[in-house]
Amino acid sequence: MVQANPIPDRRITARRAHVGLALLLALTSLISLAYGASGTSLWGAMQKLVTGQPLGQMEQVVLLDIRLPRLILGLVVGASLAVSGAVMQGLFRNPLADPGLVGVSAGAGLGAITAIVLGGLLPVAFMAAGPYLVPLAAFLGGWGSTILLYRVSTRRGRTSVATMLLAGIALGALAGAVSGILVYIADDAQLRDLTFWGLGSLAGATWTKVMVALPVMGAAIIAALFLGRGLNGLAFGEATAAHMGIPVQRIKNIAILTVAAGIGAAVAVSGGIGFIGIVVPHLLRLANGPDHETLLPNAALLGASLLLLADVISRMVIAPAELPIGIVTAVLGAPVFLWILLRRRGLVDL
């Protein structure tokens, strides 16, 4: 029997979503620029710019040195988290594979903490890495844990969800324990760095951080956008993907590298921000289907918008103080995640 209401061509709705989500991102970017503790008016500054008057010093500092880097960082971190989530789910052939859930973020965090606490012990030659040291270490941590996870949970091109989640818990616990030891031996100055970093916040956004993180995350996101075809093929398993003409090993390598770079850099500049990577791709799959060629760019747009919104909320709730953004994404994201599990109950084969 042919069902009464077939699914319409989702390529069309997905393309419409590109436009809608781009507009949403423009809107959230404006809100993020306009809203802040200082009460500086974006509108006022824009009027001055248009009429050719010089900006006041306060306006310059607040808009250009505080809000703008924060906007850019939030945008690229959000896009990176969502795209990494989508890529990882495609690679593991499972919608529950989220870097935060399966220990990749914890691995990246361990890398970052190691760099903060033990970085001083490195030979002087390494000090040249300067602000890149922490992101680099986070990347290595994320990369190592992604590869380990893939090795442990994939046999003959099939990934066992149970193994993946359990291995992820073990990995996360191990990384957390080692991180704990490092925190224990850290000195006071390092502890301040760690606390600040661990809160998961965009509050520390500076142009230096933007300069460090933007190229890495930008490259990871752009590389990931080319994985659409390959990840679609992998949905059929590695053997069938190869028969479709997909260079499977190369796709897997690129996928692992982009996840490690995207998550590593995001963790390094903003700590652990959860749920963007699982909720955004899931909502998009519900709306436009699982086709990765449209899912990946849409995930970048929606992830960026949602993180900017979460950041604005984190600045509003207890103003003039700020909530860590990780708390906001967890409060909003965890119920959505539970709802996903509820809907899929019985389909999540462990």
């Binding site: 989702r10 093929g233 949905a235 059929f236 398993g237 053997a239 028969h243 003409g245 260079p247 289907g289």
Partner: protein, 261 residues
């Protein structure tokens, strides 16, 4: 033009599954690989398509497949696995369209619809693949494979359908539909190599049959040569009687004859 496998030996773990198999499929023909469960039919197909480690050589239209890139192979042959899996809720037409991924020639936009039509699934395009029955899923996968090598001959080179039990979970009507479909593909110049469960369907449609027993070719040739009492009885380990009514000109074997003899 042929598909040739020479001296194929394959191990899975420490167990040797194939012991030096030589096998040739010809363009314009259907070659059926038959044999009892676990005899190595799927493994042979997987060796030919480089899914399992093996020693030996495989050539496709005269070219060593080991030297070809994934996309070159994909342009020349479509492969239907015995059991297909699919992650994520794709619709049927989305699944079939993925055959166009590598459809270098003839990748026209209407091919997926025509492929669905050819396997008897018109109207199913907008349904979720995961909600189809087993037989319907198998036909949807076949449509995807067909889509990939839609034209049997491109630039004078035949293309190949390599199918592992394409009709195993189909009802008799759809078995005939699919067998006629691949018969037609072969008669238009393409090559078909199909692992088959059903001896009678094989004898009816194939130009050649090869029987595999415990990783060796027991017999091969035209169906009437292979469908012999002693060959089949040895292969399947039970007494089988083959009948070839002159009026039909085709050999067949029925289960009840096995019990009586």
């Amino acid at each position: 033009m042929t598909l040739q496998a020479r001296n194929i030996q394959a191990c899975i773990g420490n167990t040797k599954i194939l012991h030096g198999i030589n096998f040739t499929g010809h363009a314009g023909e259907i070659t059926a690989i038959v044999g009892p469960n676990g005899s190595g039919k799927s493994t042979l197909l997987k060796a030919i398509t480089d899914e399992v480690d093996f020693t030996g050589h495989v050539t496709l239209n005269g070219q060593d497949t080991a030297t070809m890139k994934p996309w070159q192979l994909a342009a020349l042959r479509g492969v239907l696995p015995q059991a297909a899996t699919l992650a994520f809720p794709f619709t049927v037409i989305e699944v079939v369209r993925m055959g166009l991924l590598s459809g270098i020639s003839g990748a026209r936009a209407d091919v997926p619809e025509r492929a669905l039509n050819a396997v008897g699934l018109d109207g199913y395009g907008g349904r979720f693949y995961q909600e189809l029955s087993g037989g319907e899923q198998q036909r949807a996968q076949l449509a995807r494979v067909l889509c990939q090598v839609w034209h049997p001959v491109v630039n004078d080179a035949p293309r190949w359908l390599l199918l592992d039990e394409p009709v195993a979970s189909l009802d008799i009507g759809h078995q005939l539909l699919v067998m006629h479909l691949i018969r037609d593909y072969a008669s238009r110049g393409g090559g078909v190599v199909a692992v088959m469960h059903d001896l009678n369907l094989s004898a009816m449609f194939a130009d050649r049959m090869a029987i595999i027993l415990e990783g060796n070719i027991l017999a091969s040739g035209p169906p009437n040569k292979v469908m012999q009492d002693d060959v089949l009885s040895k292969a399947y380990g039970c007494n089988l009687r083959v009948n070839t009514p002159p009026a039909l000109g085709q050999s067949f074997v029925l289960p009840h004859l096995a019990i009586h003899s």
